[in-house]
Amino acid sequence: MSITRDEVAHLARLARLALADDELDRFAAQLDVIITAVARVQEVAAAGIPPTSHAADLRNVFRDDVITPSLGAEAALAQAPAAEQDRFRVPRIGVED
């Protein structure tokens, strides 16, 4: 098992998700399948092949420090589930006590 039930519980806590015991069991098993599948990549990673974080062999892609038009509040908020005072309204932020 490459991911433990405790690790899933920890991730759930970080994500402010209240998972029930049976959900932890179910998700731990499902995540394990995913991680095991992805981990197969390690089988082909051999010495002499540098780790890579990007598919394109590029570096230093910059833009000039120039202002371009913004969306404006109306357009930016048009698709927001809720807005108030020209701001995005978000549900109560979970804080651990």
Partner: protein
Amino acid sequence: MTDSTTTTAGLPVSFDDAVARYEPVIGLETHVELGTASKMFCGCPTVFGAEPNSGVCPVCLGLPGSLPVINRAAIEYAIRIGLALNCSIASWCRFARKNYFYPDMPKNFQISQYDEPLCSDGYLDVEVEGQQVRIGIERVHLEEDTGKSLHIGGTAGRIHGADYSLVDYNRAGIPLVEVVTKPIAGTGALAPAVARAYVTELRDLMRALDVSDVRMEQGSLRCDVNTSIAPAGSDRWGTRTETKNVNSLRSVERAVRSEIERQAAVLDAGGRVIQETRHFHEDTGSTTSGRSKEEAQDYRYFPEPDLVPLAPAPQWVEEIRAGLPELPAARRARLQADWDFTDQDMSALRNAGALDLVEETVAAGASPDQARNWWLTELSRRANESGVELSALPVTPGQVARICALVAAGELNNKLARQVLDGVLAGEGSPDEVVAARGLSVVTDSGVLAAAVDEAIAANPEIADKIRGGKAAAAGALVGAVMKATRGQADAASVRDLILQRLGQA
């Protein structure tokens, strides 16, 4: 969250007592918003105080399909900062995703740097009570600022107990540089002053480099202070806390001080300090417990797949180095030598925020001593009275220099000069306009003065006799009478000379 068995506050411990028995170690993480025109990864503006969400676009809102592109100026500014802090500049580094669940970033992550900072391993020398302290710089890295949340309902403005929150993403994506010090140990009772001196020096440095407006009150320079204490002589460091919300230079000093006192009380009571984030309260000067700190692994950093690596060419770095301006420490040394000021004079000027003002006043023709005296006494007093910074007083260095010149030329005495300043501050115009409008020039008409002197002598025959008898010191009373008669508009030294002359003593 507070566990009463481990964080019992204990009996209050005074600061002197705490640092006599415990050795503090501090560390500072300072965030500086860069003064680029556009954001870190998109072309939205970086204006402070704009209408909410007016400066946002698909990139800084994290909308699907948008891609970030690095602002070259932000990289250049960060390298400038790194070089000024004597850091090595990485020849190759990457940005990383810092993942967390908080709506101040719409992407659910912040683009930052993790194990590959752009600049590392430098130092900054600061001066504290005549001692030079070298502060090690661990790293300088680039990231993007977050949005601003407004918490609605519950206790005013607090996230705890709020019903919901409103987020403005104008600030999200503004380039932010984080400067992290190495642990600063061995400063003992000076630790709070060292923390303040460091942030002050860093602020002055950023200003000199012209990379940020570094206004703590507007949040363009923000400081988190790490503090731990261990019993004196111990070879291990204590558990550190991270104090946030430290928004002024004075607060930096107070936060370290109060955290040292609090931790000493906890340890004295047999408790242990827990690693946590604490919030500094400006009103009480103390800290309260915040959330327990996430571990770095909780942020699940990984290389940012939407950005390619950064590899500043050595030639570019050298060009930036060659273009560095005179740095604050060198400038202060130069000015001190030019002005022939003492160390005390210089620290008084710095603490009052008067260095630039004095420099400009001298440049406008005043002598260094005159300029210093005006800004540190008369003008400081008025700034205090109106509760504003010296630089916010409605008088220019050029106007102060003009008042100094009028005094030096004998056209104003000190009392009149202060009245001229009153007029300038009241918006009555330039010093010369105030002199003309209020009729404030010194009485130089010899006939008028002579008449006033004769009148004073006639009215005070006994004093006049004493002076005739050789007691020149008695002239003061007559000078006072003449000044009164001329409503303060005479030059006291000339009046004295005239009195002595009339009574055969000159």
